[in-house]
């Protein structure tokens, strides 16, 4: 730790921190564009200028490339420092188009925000504007480039060089004719391309999927976890009036840093299309309570060994826990498993894992068999009369096999988010909420327990969380110990029973998760990415 003084305030900061990060970590302000805590320092925007006292007098320098030293005295508000900050901003805005009203970045643009705070308000270019050209060029599957808005901070270039290591972007020309461009003959189509729009401090790089869809100040943000694979990248669901507009990566220094793959980022539309909305018994539509009552009646008439349960690596910990509990109390827990026939997906050394299910480790934690070979053979033999299947789509994954396995079952009770083939095959069908619409937890491949929160409530009384469906059924079956109103309560009850979760409550889970005592099944992320030395604190904009 080093003791430093910033604007008269005594601070204690970690050795090796740079001055800019030290200032930001202590909730003080210092403007910056090119600096990003997870990218190498470029020091080219020259806005984080500070004055540092030294033996030869005060030195004006950039905060991002100056490491703190014991006893360092730093001024961010001195007239000299202020002047340097203001003039750098003035130069950045010199030929920048003033198209904020039609710019998609407005509201989260660093140039806009910082100019409000540090800017020189008397505009004095005095010469005609220099047009860099290049409006909304299509440079990739998801990305549009607006060259004249670019402030040449090179964050995107450093990102494509350092993380996906694909190096599609570069600066062409020299001096004030410099502009960001994509190399000839290539497209910005790497698996992490969406991140360039996050690091872009201005509206130069924008997402086709988000462009002109919603002004950012209307967006509500909810902490969540990506559902796309077993990595469980931290993310924020950004939504308004029950519609999701984008997924944004959320910082987790130990997991995804501030990155996210495109597969995960652009999956948001999947959760709001082809949704199942109605409870269906055979061919007739029912309300949820009618459906539950009918199911309960049906199950009451069966012996415990007539009912099989299919848990799911796609479901939350709470869903699977309550399903297991139902089988423990009412049926036979040996008849519960989570066979999953989904294909493995693309994997890399950065974030993506081949296992595209977010909670397979969670099943392990709960002791649910993830293969279920025995159960499947017995199903095939026709030993079961009813199956409760949660968040699973065997008919979509392997129809032939699914028909063989589930064809003899009289009552196939399916809880599904989407209108899948399995939903078509179901005899009793219940719509359930996605992870975005409920509270819950996943355990990722590196055994990190992570919480996601409900972003918004669905305007459909027939649609509940998987765990709440189980709780309602259990009540209809007159079982004790299922008195829950929200998955968060389920978690708290579960934490008392599962040793690895001991002492945790839903609200006490840190926003970046906790690593459980459970052997990890995947390597840590960023295996081949150079260690980035300046990871210290939070990303501040």
């Amino acid at each position: 730790m080093a003791k430093i003084t910033v604007d008269g305030k005594q601070l204690e900061v970690k050795d090796g921190t740079n001055v800019l990060q030290a200032v930001l970590d202590n909730d003080m302000k210092l403007e910056h564009f090119c600096y990003h805590p997870y990218l190498p320092v470029a020091g080219n925007c020259r806005t984080c200028m500070v004055e540092i006292e030294g033996p030869k007098g005060n030195m004006l320098t950039v905060g991002c490339n100056t490491k703190v030293a014991e006893g360092m005295v730093i001024h961010t508000l001195s007239p000299k420092a202020k002047q340097a900050q203001k003039s750098a901003l003035e130069m950045l805005l010199l030929d920048h188009p003033l198209d904020c009203p039609v710019c998609d970045k407005a509201g989260e643009c660093k140039l806009q925000n910082q100019y409000m705070e540090y800017g020189l308000y008397d505009f004095r270019r005095g010469v005609p504007r220099y047009f860099k050209g290049g409006k909304a060029e299509d440079i990739g599957e998801h990305i549009l480039l607006d060259q004249e808005r670019c402030v040449l901070c090179t964050r995107c270039i450093r990102f494509v060089d350092e993380v996906p290591k694909t190096s599609e972007l570069g600066i062409v020309n020299r001096g004030h004719e410099s502009k960001l461009d994509i190399f000839p003959g290539v497209r910005l189509d790497n698996a992490y391309s969406g991140n360039v729009t996050d690091v872009c401090p201005v509206g130069a790089l924008t997402l086709k999927e988000f462009r002109f869809k919603q002004r950012v100040w209307f967006l509500k943000k909810t902490e969540s976890i990506c559902h796309g694979c077993a990595r469980g990248c931290n993310m924020t669901v950004e939504h308004n009036k029950g519609k999701i507009y984008r997924f944004m990566p959320r910082e987790n220094a130990e997991l995804n840093k501030t990155w996210m793959c495109d597969e995960g980022r652009f999956s948001f539309d999947y959760y709001q299309t082809h949704r199942l909305e109605e409870v269906r018994m055979g061919h007739s539509i029912r309300s949820l309570s009618e459906g539950i009552a009918e199911i309960a009646k049906l199950l009451e008439g069966l012996s415990p060994n007539d009912v099989a349960g299919i848990a799911s690596p796609a479901g939350a910990l709470e869903d699977n826990y309550l399903l297991k509990k139902l089988f423990e109390k009412k049926f036979n827990v040996k008849n519960l498993a989570a066979p999953f026939w989904g294909k493995e997906g693309e994997a890399d050394d950065i974030l993506k894992l081949a296992d595209k299910m977010p909670n397979r480790q969670g099943l392990k934690l709960l002791g649910i068999d993830t293969e279920g070979k025995d159960l499947l053979t017995r199903l095939e033999k026709g030993e079961f009369k009813a199956v409760i299947m949660m968040h699973n789509n065997p008919y979509g994954q392997d129809e032939e096999r699914a028909k063989k396995v589930y064809g003899k079952v009289k009552a196939l009770i399916v809880l599904s988010v989407h209108k899948t083939k399995t939903a078509e095959a179901a005899s009793c069908l219940f719509p359930v909420k996605t992870f975005i619409e409920k509270n819950g937890t996943f355990v990722n491949a590196t055994s990190r327990l992570q919480r996601f929160r409900q972003a918004f409530e669905r305007d459909n009384p027939d649609m509940v969380e998987g765990s709440m469906w189980v709780a309602r059924l259990a009540k209809a079956l007159k079982l004790e110990g299922f008195n829950f109103n929200d998955p968060a309560e389920v978690f708290n009850a579960m934490a008392k029973e599962v040793p690895a979760l001991k002492g945790l409550t839903f609200n006490a889970i840190p926003s970046t998760g906790v690593v459980l005592d459970l052997p990890p099944v995947a390597p840590e992320p960023f295996k081949n990415v150079k260690a980035q030395p300046n990871v210290v604190g939070k990303v501040k904009t």
Binding site: L60, A88, L94, V127, G175, H176, S178
Partner: protein, 426 residues
């Protein structure tokens, strides 16, 4: 000036002076015998004692620079020779490379021995096509004769020298821009720290020296530091190649010890002014603050005299301007040059140099008021010292000195300030 022996230009004018044969006949590579009896530390101490300053423009003591190289990193150490001479008004390295390439090679061997380097690169300005040919021929000759390559002259010291031709960017003469270009990247100066002596070419410790600096070393090794400090002035030891261009009757370059008065230089070597009385002198390449005729009266060609006059020695090649020179047009030339050559990395330089140039155009077009002159001064203040390298300062200094020392040349282009009309919409 009969009282000094030319060190850098003594072979200039000899027939085939660039060949090894002539070089050896005239005492070339003689310093190596003594060099290999010394230890590297002794060589560094000798050069330190000689007070040899970097001839590239900044004037940093060469021996001191060499002593910064860490010897215990386990990485190779490189020497990069800066032959990217492109400062406007400067023309001496090109002649050295043409007429005496072996002298540079001898200096490279001395410096490499001192810093324990076995691979040296000569970064040549892209336009120096002929010089590159000469250098490559000289390296071939020297290799064949055992002055380069493995076990030089039986000393056990190995050295390979490679010539790299740039693509003609001024900024590649900045030492870290040069390293980037040498590595095959765009020539954009690196942020410091780390300094190149610690993390330089390919991430290894690297020393970057100018052609003239290295060419001065063999003489120092052969004759000793004391003999070198005896030449020149107290703070500026040795000799230098001084150049004259502009409004003089005879332009050219001459090797001389430091300390000659500027006016004597103009009279004696430049054969007097051409076309009118003296108006201004840019003493050492275009980025040095300009001096008025009055300031030049007691100016001498030395680091300390230039410093006392609040300008820089720079490259030692002066641009002379007579009374009919329009300083506004001169400055427009400079603003154009620096805005064109800015690498575009740092905001204040990228935008500032171009802004100055656009304002200069406005001034010359007669569309500016004195407000623009003030703005130019403020932009100069806002760019200098706020960027990674000194290119922004290289324009800020002339802008400030031109506007302050020759205000009338600029005011004559300016419209009188607009009178505010009540109720008018601006």
């Amino acid at each position: 000036m009969a009282d000094f022996e030319p060190q850098l230009t003594k072979r200039f004018g000899l027939k085939d002076s660039h060949t090894l044969k002539v070089f050896l006949e005239t005492g070339g590579y003689a310093s190596l015998k003594k060099l290999f009896t010394m230890t590297p530390v002794q060589v560094i101490d000798e050069v330190k004692a000689s007070n040899l300053k970097g001839r590239g423009g900044a004037g940093f003591p060469a021996g001191m620079k060499w002593s910064f190289v860490p010897q215990n990193t386990g990485k190779p150490i490189y020497l990069a020779v800066n032959a990217d001479e492109s400062e406007p008004g400067t023309f001496s390295d090109r002649f050295l490379l043409m007429n005496d390439p072996h002298l540079l090679l001898e200096g490279i061997i001395c410096a490499s021995f001192a810093i324990n380097c076995h691979t040296a690169y000569i970064y040549c300005r892209g336009e120096f096509a002929h010089q590159v040919k000469r250098l490559n021929a000289a390296i071939e000759e020297a290799k064949k004769a055992g002055y380069l390559g493995k076990n030089i002259q039986g000393s056990g010291f190995d050295l390979e020298v490679y010539v790299h031709r740039g693509a003609g960017a001024y900024i590649c003469g900045e030492e870290t821009g040069l390293l980037e270009s040498l590595e095959g990247k765009p020539g954009k100066p690196r942020i410091k720290p780390p300094f190149p002596a610690v993390v330089g070419l390919f991430g290894c410790p690297t020393i970057i020296n100018n052609v003239k600096t290295l060419s001065s070393v063999p003489w120092i090794i052969a004759n000793g530091a004391a003999a070198y400090t005896a030449i020149g002035t107290k703070e500026s030891s040795g000799t230098h190649i001084f150049g004259l261009s502009g409004h003089v009757n005879q332009t050219g370059y001459w090797e001389m010890p430091f300390g000659l008065p500027m006016m004597e230089f103009i009279e004696k070597y430049g054969k007097g002014l051409k076309g009118g009385a003296l108006k201004a002198v840019i003493p050492g390449g275009s980025s040095c603050p300009v001096l008025t005729a009055k300031e030049c009266e007691d100016l001498a060609l030395s680091y300390e005299s230039m410093r006392d006059h609040k300008t820089m020695f720079g490259t030692g090649c002066a641009i002379i301007m007579n009374e009919h020179t329009d300083m506004a047009k001169v400055l427009k030339n400079l603003t154009h040059f620096y805005s064109h050559e800015s690498c575009g990395q740092c905001t204040p330089c990228r935008e500032g140099t171009a802004w100055e140039d656009r304002l200069m155009k406005k001034i010359l077009d007669g569309e500016a008021t004195t407000k623009e002159l003030d703005l130019m001064l403020e932009i100069a203040d806002n760019m200098e010292g706020k960027t990674i390298c000194v290119l922004s300062a290289a324009l800020a200094m002339p802008v400030r000195s031109f506007l302050k020392k020759f205000p009338d040349d600029f005011r004559k282009y300016c419209k009188s300030a607009p009178v505010a009309v009540p109720g008018a919409v601006s």
